[in-house]
């Protein structure tokens, strides 16, 4: 354990929030529409799934931005667009000022080293036929950053050490490890290329609670040690609150609220954010029995044919007639606190 880690563990106050202003990532009016086709021989596009429909945000250097929302809201697609695993329909993704959407696959290669990902499911994101050591050294070989084999092996042991795994795991296969250990391998693989930016797509959701806390602490330590920037995609709001500097809330392909972490949790403004926070159970029977539960009705509509106007209006208790027609503007209601709702 590094000295910095030890020093931080003795603190009891909330972790300091660094005020960094320089943008690492800027997403401008990003749209990702997947075509829905009919017909086998001559496919015809009959509709589009509007997975992400015009969202804009920035991620500052050294910052962790939380991206929350329920299944199908477009949070994973947003992450995949930034990673250039999907070719966005429209919009810009600027990395240090360079628009990744305009780069060809060759020009993209150096950026792929700088942008890495940790996937949700530690069971399916590791190749079952490869040893852990090979999984970790493959990216270094492909990008030819460490040409010598013996140097790569040394680096593998170093990476295992960084994520808290014993060196003997290098010769093991994924099936010999538990979920928490596999997720550590996923993290080590993301670190192999010395990235600046990591997309954590539900990186702790599949883990048991006692293991989840271990991995969250590891992600925090690595962020501080290597000065990493994270996009932390998750549906668990209490984890997001613990880890993030700023939080963006998505619903049906749109961004509905964006604010500093404390501001968002202490003073949520959008009715959807409020409902989401209200639905999170608290492990305390006294508080839970006193708490008034406002349960939002209905389910998330289909992103093929989203509701007109504000996409949340059919489930919203504040909705007025205007919400059915006009798409609400994403406004800055307080410094740094953006909300897409006309009724707050």
């Amino acid at each position: 354990m590094s000295e910095a880690t030890v020093a931080r563990m003795s603190e009891s106050a909330p972790s300091p929030r660094p005020a960094l202003q320089e943008n690492l990532i800027e997403v401008k009016n990003l749209k990702m529409h997947f075509p829905v086709t009919e017909g086998i021989i001559i496919p015809k596009v009959v509709a589009h799934v509007k997975a992400v429909d015009g969202i804009s945000f920035n991620i500052r250097k050294g910052e962790t931005l939380g991206l929350v929302g329920e299944s199908g809201c477009g949070k994973t697609t947003t992450g995949r667009c930034i990673l250039q695993l999907e070719k966005a329909t429209a919009g810009e993704i600027l990395y240090n000022g360079v628009n990744l959407n305009n780069l060809g696959s060759k020009a993209m290669v150096p950026y792929r080293q700088k942008i890495q990902v940790i996937f949700q499911d530690p069971y399916s994101s590791l190749n079952p036929r490869m040893k852990i050591g090979d999984i970790l050294s493959e990216p270094m070989r492909v990008h030819n950053v460490i040409p010598d084999r013996r140097d790569r092996d040394k680096r593998v042991l170093e990476l295992l050490n960084v994520v808290g795994l014993s060196p003997r795991f290098a010769d093991r296969y994924p099936h010999e490890m538990s979920g928490g250990q596999r997720q550590r391998v996923g993290i080590a693989r993301a670190l192999a290329m010395n990235p600046d930016f990591i997309v954590c797509d539900e990186a702790v959701s599949a883990l048991d609670v006692s293991i989840q806390a271990q991995v969250i602490n590891l992600l925090e330590d690595l962020r501080d040690e290597f000065g990493l920037t994270y996009l932390f995609i998750a549906h668990d709001l209490s984890v997001v609150r613990h880890l993030c500097h700023r939080v963006a809330v998505m619903y049906l392909g749109k961004m509905v609220e964006l604010a500093d972490c404390d501001e968002l949790f202490d003073n949520p403004m959008h009715p959807y954010t409020k409902a989401l926070l209200n639905a999170v159970p608290i492990p305390d029977p006294t508080i839970e029995s006193r708490r008034e539960h406002k349960i939002i009705k209905g389910e998330i509509p289909s992103p093929i044919n989203p509701p007109s106007g504000c996409v949340f209006h059919p489930r919203c208790e504040l909705a007025v007639d205007g919400c059915k027609k006009a798409v609400p503007e994403f406004r800055e209601l307080r410094p740094g606190h953006w909300v897409a709702c006309t009724e707050v």
């Binding site: 609670v209 006692s210 209490s238 492990p283 006294t286 508080i287 539960h293 389910e299």
Partner: protein, 332 residues
Amino acid sequence: MTTLLEIEGLQTQFFTSAGVVKAVDGISYTVGAGETVAVVGESGCGKSVSALSILRLVADPPGKIVGGSIRFEGRDLLQLSDEEMRSVRGNDIAMVFQEPMTSLNPVLSIGMQITETLQHHLGMSDEEANARAVELLGMVGISEPQRRLSQYPHHLSGGMRQRVMIAIALACEPKLIIADEPTTALDVTIQAQILELMKNLTRQFGVALIIITHNLGVVARYADRVNVMYAGKIIETGTAADVYHNPRHPYTLALLKSVPRLDLPRQAKLDPVEGQPPDLARLGAGCPFRPRCRYAVARCEQENPALEQIGPQHYSACWEKNSLTSAGKVVS
């Protein structure tokens, strides 16, 4: 409150090539009529196997219930013939599974899957069963129930499918419903809807409920009593207030502390349970939680503590239980 279900020393083991896995190793608890009991623990602690054992649904081989008794209204379910057991399942005791995506039959219509139970157990005619199915779907909050009868599971969202599962569970007015991680696969707003629905329906019909979950938050609001399991054993049991406010086993304490909470100020650092859960095929002597326990003493290495009473309904299996408080261990 009359006792509905009484589990006594239940032992379920799996005979595998790696050895005998003691998935459930002598657990005992009771469920009163209309009571909601939670079974909490992490993956592999035996909570699901203990539930499947109640309905004798453990696959044999490799699994086998090797000891104990499960008395339901005075009858020992383990002594019943297969025929008699079939009339208990779905009729007296119903089950709601975790995965609404895989626990419904994809090639049978929703109506068919609900009426099957009604016709089998209650001998209803087609018309009677259909009318009852419409009533049930309405009860669990599904719109246009008549039209849904002819739909298939893939037409429905995850939340809707779980509502159908609950409708099937309620169909024969059982006395006990066992819900195995009923909301784990669902989004949080849908989870809140389903939990509220289950609470209201069980209160309305006086059905007892066993909720199995890994999420301590989910059951805080609903459970009358909580059993915490670790490595095939119940290590702490008590009322919800006992277990959440006054945990007396280091594992319960650690579980409660390791989750970030929305209602408390943010901590600088989470306090995880270090290490990994034990391999149930290779349990040695002593307390199975000892390698991960902060408060372990020499005695923990040799002797496995039994559940002992510490309050009116509060039991803990820990040698150090009397020096534990919710803040940690008091050094005497």
